[in-house]
Subunit: 235 residues, 2 copies
């Protein structure tokens, strides 16, 4: 069985969320059931890019992960697109045999049995600014499938007040899920440099919202890779 | 019994290490047994500033924490200076009764029985560039006292290759302690703006060292508060 892969890169550090700062190899799956208005990975989402995606077996992928990491086990993050529309069970099984551990990032629209084999599952439901709507029954099914995971967290991107209120409601719905908020990034052109100060200002806005409201549940974090590399791909 | 307190501020977010991004009130103790060459908190270290420090009881401190957080429990980070030269046991006891949890950041030169009551203990031994030397027997005593903690981590600031090699040796010594590395900040004048790009470049240098070496144990993180607020105090 072949998997559609947009890119495999690293080791770099995880730039977001619960594993921020952790050395990671990324396996970015091609294809997505969502079309978020502000998607920063359209090259892994839009089927117009499908000719750039490789058809790879789990063994092929693992060989590339092994090559990039010189055979030294580390965290492999399966991202996308939405990786949950494909079957990464065998990849995870192969990698774990060699000591690698796996994280997966998905919006929570499709539940997979292989979630249970992950070390970390990051569910990132998309707020109103994305133009997508969350089906919480499907999200709940993802949570059920993730029962074997060491860590399950929720990560929400915040562009505006509406997203912020939506994130608060999501936290009330799932008070036991660790929550990570990050400011949205409206600058997603890989050929344009990122305005560092503007990115920091968006982070400051979100920090002040959260602390000013006395809402102490979420972690507030930037996209570190975006601060370091802008929207450059492969890092 | 009174405690020497340099400042109490927040809620803001934790800018460093294992709790990065977490809403936090900081209780910064006055006084330190170290004089690190690059200390960014000399106002809490040098006894020349002792007239700015307040003598506060644990009840006084807790009243201020409560006021700042509007009585909503959050993480209280006890930092310094070296907070471990004073007795924060009663503060922690009082705070925990109201649902607050406590983190403490210390170099690991003085062990305290109240370490066991913390949620998180961050031990940050100082690398050679600091001009200080670590007594690992004292560090080990801190670890012993921290046995009740939910999380004990090691955080090391890296200014140069010598620090980097030293951190690697520390990780070999304590392979089971989660390790956080952060690039050193040579710009510590609170009245001067921080050069954001230079700070990002130092982070990039450290990320490339770690990933290039295939050293996947440490998390590599910036000082987020420094990116957001520069060296401004009280945030």
């Amino acid at each position: 069985m072949k998997l559609r892969i947009s890119e495999i890169f690293g080791p770099t550090i995880q730039g977001e969320g619960a594993l921020i700062g952790k050395p990671t190899v990324f396996v970015r799956a091609g294809g997505c059931d969502y079309r978020c208005a502000w998607c920063d990975s359209m090259h892994a989402v839009d089927s117009a890019f499908r000719h750039d995606w490789a058809e790879m077996s789990a063994e092929d992928i693992m060989a590339e992960v092994r090559r990039l990491s010189s055979g030294r086990p580390l965290t492999v993050s399966i991202s996308g697109g939405n990786p949950a529309i494909q079957d990464f069970g065998l990849l995870i099984e192969l990698g774990k045999q060699e000591g690698y551990d796996f994280a997966c990032e998905t919006q929570g629209s499709v539940a997979q049995p292989w979630f249970a084999e992950l070390e970390t599952l990051v569910l990132s439901p998309k707020p109103p600014s994305s133009g997508e709507e969350t089906d919480w029954r499907k999200f709940d099914r993802c949570l059920e499938n993730a029962k074997g995971c060491n860590l399950v967290v929720m990560k929400i991107v915040i562009f505006d007040e509406t997203d912020y209120a939506w994130a608060k409601a999501a936290e009330e719905r799932y008070p036991n899920l660790p929550l990570y908020l990050q400011p949205g990034n409206p600058e997603v052109d890989p050929d344009q440099p990122v305005d560092l100060q503007a990115a920091i200002d968006r982070l400051l806005w979100l920090i002040e919202k959260v602390t000013g409201d006395g809402w102490f549940a979420p972690h507030v974090l930037p996209q570190l890779h975006m601060l370091v590399w802008g929207n450059k791909r492969g890092v």
